[in-house]
């Protein structure tokens, strides 16, 4: 999955879509959006960083699980087997991204337990006292659908597909962006050496907020210089 940070507007539609799709209880968020304020006044910037399980190639959670309850499907999706997990909690700490969630205390559910949605769909996949994480909506992917968060994103900041397939949406988008904006995808915490499947494209806006409306802004300065040279040539 590729997440374009320039496109993300921090609306948390993915967060909600994920909760709705997976029926996660309170305090369980497979998809989160980090609202980050960077810099000091007046050079302040807000960046939204949507985070979810990266389905790493060299997944630390998978290596740390003493019960072999975390498996990796041939298509690369890393899943926590709800029947095998014994709630040891090693994976929770092992994940450098903090994307595995394990609640040992009693959980709060949004809907009544007897509702059909809870009884037949949610509770089967949300056993108590076991570790849970984003599944890339494996149940949807198996049916040829896209993950709920991808479908819900109003700005199509999330692009889902097979990175190894050059024809896939995600590969063509990466190629396009390389040509058009010169951005290439990066991974979160590369020093953790987890080879994540999820990658990000950086923000594009170069202008600093403090220089808005002034002529000495970086973008403006370049433009003016170009205009000056053009005038000079004339």
């Amino acid at each position: 999955m590729l997440i374009d940070l320039t496109r993300c507007i921090g609306c948390d539609a993915c967060t909600l879509a994920c909760k709705q799709e997976n029926g996660t209880p309170y305090d369980t968020f497979f998809a989160r959006v980090l609202n980050v304020e960077a810099g000091t006044y007046p050079d302040v910037k807000r960046v939204y960083i949507p985070v979810l399980c990266n389905h790493c190639d060299d997944a630390p959670c998978l290596k740390s699980c003493p019960n072999k309850a975390i498996v990796r499907r041939p298509d690369g999706i890393v899943l926590v087997d709800q029947d095998r997990c014994r709630g040891t909690g090693a994976c929770v700490s092992a994940c450098p991204y903090g994307n595995i969630i394990l609640h040992r205390e009693e959980e709060g559910w949004y809907l009544d337990e007897n509702e059909a949605y809870e009884k037949d769909f949610v509770k089967l996949r949300m056993k108590e006292n076991v570790a849970r994480k984003c599944t890339y909506c494996a149940h949807r992917v198996d049916q040829g659908l896209q993950p709920a968060c991808v479908v819900a994103c109003p700005t199509t900041a999330r692009i889902f597909g097979d990175l190894e397939d050059p024809e896939s949406d995600v590969s063509t988008y990466i190629e396009e962006q390389k040509e058009q904006t010169g951005r290439s995808p990066f991974h979160l915490l590369p020093e953790a050496e987890t080879k994540p499947a999820g990658c990000y494209l950086g923000t594009m806006a170069e202008q600093r907020p403090s220089t808005l409306g002034q002529s000495d802004g970086i973008g403006d300065a370049k433009q003016e210089e170009a205009q000056r040279t053009q005038r000079g040539q004339k």
Binding site: V36, A38, V47, V51, A59, K68, A90, L188
Partner: protein, 365 residues
Amino acid sequence: MLLLAVACGHAQTDLQKKEVYPVTSCMGCHGQNAMGGLGPPLAQTKVGLSTFRQVVRNGKGMMPAISEADLSDSDLDQVYEEVKAKPWIPDEIPIAFKVGQFLTPRSVSHFFIVVFLFATVFAIRGLSYWLKCAGLKELKPAIAKFGWARSFGVVLKSLIVDGFLVGSLWQNNKKRWFMHGLLLYGFCGLLLADILIAILNPQRGQVPLTHPLKLLPVVSGIAVLIGIFYVMYRYKKDEFIDNGLTLGKDFLFVNLLVHVIISGFLVVALKRMGIHDFVMTIYIWHLAAVALLIATGPFTRFQHMYVVPALAAMTRLTEAIVASGVELGFEREPSPGRHHKSMKIASDVMKQLGEDGPITMRYYP
């Protein structure tokens, strides 16, 4: 490690006129022609009679002390005369002794100290990787607010309950806990036996099988053996066993442990049965397997012994910090307990975007 214990046969003192050496237990280790076996060659010995007597009566290194009940003073003197008179046949010095003569308790312990240090360095390196994954550095301010002593208590409790007692297995599957316990506590028993034997250093040849120092390693060894064979059986039938990343490392650990245990039992059994011919070879096999098990430890399944408890303890510590409501500068966090990791991700992203500077995380803006 199972250590050498040489059983003493009974000297038959009624054959005074004939040669005494062939009927004593000496021959078992020192060879038919006194050219060595498990022990050094005695033929043409340059050792004086008084030293000879002293070594036999008090033992030396792997050599057990032999009491007067087993070998009378006169027989001892006669054995000395006999072996001194035996011809020196260099071809008969067995390879086992040539290798074995380097296996003094001192050299073996030095070797194992080196192996252990090697393993420790890599184990610490591995552990620091996992603690980095767990975000220990980022969690430090929260730990400081929570209290270092309190944190230590939480970690210690988790190491005992989640680590040593394997609480998660106990809660979920008693049978699994028992089989895991056979391995875990059997292994601890072997370790404890080794430490006790090293400290108390009894004359092992003289110690009966019912002695605690003999019983502990034997019972522990049997427990580990049952446990490891169950694991091998499970590897055959469990479809989940190959997670694509760790299977080779798991196999290496299991196989090395099998070698360690089987060779250890063979050493004890062969000595008890009085078959000394292969003891040294098997003992070297045993030492090599133990050394390999320790040296490869930080890279094989062995590492789950310290990695899983450490990670589980970190999880419990984070849970305790969240539950205590230590003020982190925000009211509420989605999926509590991952703020420190979120901050790490955020600062990493800002760094990768070329934005150095302070960052603040806003939840539920």
